[in-house]
């Protein structure tokens, strides 16, 4: 239970350190208001916000990577407990059972991955 305490304390330390740094910087730093400076940094033709070409066509890759990340992340998380009990399982003679069950799971994992790769879902443009 006490470990919670230390984690809490550590986060507090970090946050205060960061806030302190920013506070001091904003205090010490000069305050010169000028329009140009606060312009968003643009290189090349500034694209007005409204008709952003992105409004209708959404690059699918970002979104796809994220969702596939979630799915495979969960599959990896499922592997952790298995990894832990695998060694004891072998001693207890349950080794093959565990291997096969996880084998099926990994097979599904592989099938999903192969399908993803073959379906060119993750291909980014050049």
């Amino acid at each position: 239970m006490s470990q919670m305490l230390w984690i809490g304390i550590l986060t507090l330390i970090v946050i205060t350190f960061g806030a302190l740094m920013l506070g001091v910087a904003s205090l010490l730093g000069p305050k010169v208001k000028s329009l140009v400076k606060s312009e968003p940094y643009e290189c090349g033709i500034p694209v007005p916000d409204e008709d952003k070409s992105m409004s209708k066509t959404i690059p699918v890759q970002f979104y796809l990577t994220a969702i596939l990340f979630i799915l495979f992340d969960i599959e990896i998380i499922f592997m952790f407990p298995w990894a832990l009990i695998y060694k004891d399982g072998i001693e207890a003679g349950q080794g093959p059972y565990l291997l096969i069950s996880m084998g099926i799971f990994i097979a599904l994992f592989v099938v999903g991955l192969v399908w993803e790769i073959s379906s060119k879902a993750l291909d980014w443009e050049k």
Partner: protein, 379 residues
Amino acid sequence: MDFFYIFFQVIKMLVIFLLMVTMVPLLVWVERRGSAFIQNRLGPNRVGPLGLLQLLADAVKFFFKEEFVPKNGYKTIFYLAPIVALIPGAIAFGAIPLGIPLDIGAFNAFGQTWGPYNLGFQSFELGIGVVFVLAVASLGGYSLLLAGWGSGNKYSMMGALRACAQMISYELALGLSLVGILLIYGTFSFNDIVNMQEGPLNFSIGQKDIVIGFLPNWGIFFQPLGAILFFVATFAETNRAPFDLPEAEAELVAGFHTEYGGLKMLLFFIGEYGHMMVASALMTTLFFGSYHIPFVTPDGLLSFLNSFMGAGFAKWIQFLIFHISFMLKVIFFLWVFVWVRWTVPRFRYDQLMDLGWKKMLPWALFNTVVTAVAMLLLA
């Protein structure tokens, strides 16, 4: 849970955090000197001996930079991003044991005797060490997204999205590569893992135990492929070296950093180098036997030291030696980071993602399956 125990704990945490924070300028110095050395030039040597104080000068300069927020950015998110960048690194680093636990004898102060304490040289030791670090690492992505969204301009947004996409892709490989080593160790807590790596390399095939004297019992020998995958994944995780396309100057105008300057930029650097330190620390603890010195066992060293100095003092020396060995290993890996950054050319984004999804992930999976089958067959 008496007063002194808490006091010592807090002191310990502060020391560890400051250790990390002070390491950062050092690393920057190493980076600048290293890159100069690789590119056959001198690097900063004006300020202080060998340019060591250069970083101090930079820090002071940063303090006096002006703070401003871009026009259509979100003020709160803009300021929140640097702080969020700090947190994951620091907390992850806190979980990793930096040295041998220190036990302080009973002493009396304020009229009562305070019992002996055994302080582990880490902020907090958790039963779920490894997966905790992974979880906290996954929070790292938010700083990028917040920075991108807060600064309001299209380039930083695109840069943030790309950086985040890259990070999460390699997080997969990171997690999967760890599964292999976890299969071997069978536990999450770092202390157990470190204790398992003591003494010469020994494993059992069938009923016979095989001991190889000249090799230390480190994780690398059990999981070579896992180690390599892990190390490469950490490169991508920290947006370092070959994988630093998102905030590469030439490509996307420094990606999500574009709008940041001054101290906020420094905080981002601290965050980045913090992640690097966590990565190398993980590397050493999981695969290179943390503070263990190859042919020396902690008790052996202690008895050797007792032979020519007092018991209490010997314990401190032993604590110090092991800590130094751990730090040496970490510094070595940090150097590898710098070394790789200035030698390997940068990946193109789609190559980078392909590597992550189509190369690293399958290999990590392969590695896990092979280890599992091997363990079963050789049990």
